[in-house]
């Protein structure tokens, strides 16, 4: 399958998957901006790892209720609940104990994932359960995605985008000056909850495609790359959405064309390339631009003297 696939000949399924990953990339890039600006990028790390026990429990619940096979909405609901619990645990630990946030993140991440691994080994030992699909959530399984599922995920991603558009003002306040917002009487706690809900939505939407380890990258990398391009939030959101969407689209295309490139991983690597390019060549805070600016300043200082 080395010859190129023209768009017209691309199957309906591939087109849907492409649309789904692109939507996911746009949503993750946009929502991720707020996490990066709030210096809480790695909370999404904990959140995504913590979805594992929820997925497995939801699977067990589905089994007990007699739902046939695995029902995606049920699994995603479980993922969202345990992810939200993990975020709540991190916030409780940082607020009420002397432990720093990074220790809280790491502890919650590893323990939730540990519980997930234990439950997973229980499920795999159950004779009745066909748990083959569950592992796909760890590393992603775009290839096995059906077009209906891709559409569901695209809708979830669009919902997250709509959330950002709706609460743009509040999120901006939270990202730049939480102390001021609280002093001015805004319910920052509730804003934060809203942001975490959006991140959970994106994470859950991305589990199926890129897997729970690599969805972190889609939330962090485009946003961190976009930070090099501008100092204005609106533009940063656009750039991050663009980089995320391009990574999702290009990654899905590459993975459809070459059969031994798993989509999740290649999407992340494309995003990493965008990050590198931004680090060096972005006009606002890129390395090259900053070096040139410094050289020009030095030259002008020399001329003035």
């Amino acid at each position: 399958m080395m010859e190129g696939l023209p768009f017209a000949a691309m199957g309906h399924n591939t087109a849907m998957v492409l649309a789904g990953t692109t939507a996911l990339g746009i949503a993750a890039g946009t929502v991720g901006c707020f996490m990066v600006l709030r210096r809480r990028a790695l909370v999404s790390d904990a959140l995504s790892h913590a979805t594992l026990p929820g997925i497995v429990i939801a699977f067990l619940v589905g089994l007990a209720l007699g739902v046939e096979g695995r029902s995606l909405p049920l699994l995603l609901l479980g993922a969202a609940i345990s992810g939200a619990l993990a975020v709540a645990a991190i916030q409780a630990i940082t607020r009420w104990t002397r432990l720093p946030e990074d220790a809280a993140i790491g502890a919650v991440l590893s323990c939730f994932f540990g519980i997930g691994v234990v439950l997973l080994s229980v499920v795999q030992a159950l004779p009745a359960a066909n748990a083959a699909g569950l592992k796909g959530f760890i590393f992603g399984q775009t290839a096995a995605m059906r077009s209906g599922e891709a559409a569901t995920l695209a809708v979830l991603a669009l919902a997250a985008l709509a959330g950002v558009a709706l609460f743009f003002k509040e999120l901006r306040l939270l990202a730049f000056d939480e102390g001021f917002a609280r002093a001015a009487g805004w319910p920052t706690g509730r804003f934060d909850l809203g942001l975490m809900a959006l991140v959970t939505l994106v994470t859950v939407a991305g589990l199926q495609t890129v897997g729970l380890v690599l969805i972190i990258a889609l939330l962090i990398t485009p946003a961190a790359a976009a930070r090099f391009w501008t100092d204005r939030l609106g533009i940063m959101l656009l750039v991050a959405g663009l980089i995320g969407g391009l990574s999702g689209g290009i990654g899905a295309l590459l993975s459809a064309r070459f059969q031994n490139l798993p989509a999740g991983a290649i999407i992340v690597l494309v995003a990493a390339c965008f990050f590198m390019a931004s680090l060096f060549f972005a006009p606002a805070r890129g390395l090259l631009a900053r070096t040139l600016r410094r050289a020009r300043l030095r030259a002008s200082l020399g001329a003035a003297r």
Partner: protein, 320 residues
Amino acid sequence: MILPDTQTFLSVDLPAMLAALFACLSCALVGNFLVLRRQSLMGDAISHAVLPGIVAGFLVAGTRDTLPMLTGALVAAVSAGLLIELVRRLGKVEAGAAMGVVFTSLFALGVILIEQGPARQVDLDADCVLYGQLEGILWFGPAGWSSLLDPGTWASLPRQVVQLATVFAFCLAIVLIFLKELTLVSFDPALADTLGLRSALVQHGIVALAALCAIAAFEAVGSILVIAMLICPAATARLLCDRMPAQIALSLLAGAITAIGGYMLGAFGPMLVGFDHSVGAAGSIATLSGLILALAILFAPRYGVLARRRLARATAPALA
């Protein structure tokens, strides 16, 4: 309920337990400094980032031998540390975001390498990095309890156990020799700098030790357990005491209890409730470490949530 007979215990459970014990001890020891220096997530980043190194080591050597894979892991861990530092410095990117970008990219690279031809054929997968193969460590030396007294039996200890014990001994030696410096840098890097002690250098050393522990341990216990062990015992100890020697001793104790207790729970617990499969020991150890931490968070004598609440209630009338 079926308990294993003596021979099975000695050649399957005992070596696995020893490996888990030494892995947990060395991670808990180094974890103290990571938690104090707010570098906890370096362990997370490094243990994800070793994946491409392991696969590349395998692809280059063409065998499942351990040495090339460990070398690859070491190279990957060092490059991950350098890349994170580079992205932070050159791009002025916040530490968390820099870690997130670097370790996910390296992990993605690893996932792609795994899918390429040769690695696929021998069924090398990312699972072994996440969960390790504690159950795969076998010790054929001992025959009955009495043989444990014979030093000759111990010479045939599985390589993984020896490796982990060596790393623990090395970390312990380093920590004991540099305890004063490490303590100073952990609590007050600025003072350390003014006293002429290069705190940045010490911090790099701490991260390097953590990387060493992570690499030595991932093969046996997997990266998830490494992250749990780098953070949970040290965090538990942090809630229970204020002095460095006590902190180190408590974290080692917590690490040891978690390793042995978690293994027992994973291997024999399910049978107690009538489920005739053992669950993954790495997962159960990580879970137990979280439980112990949760207990400490709630019930620690001075810094626990309940104790603080009681204190607040006791002082409230005086303040009113």
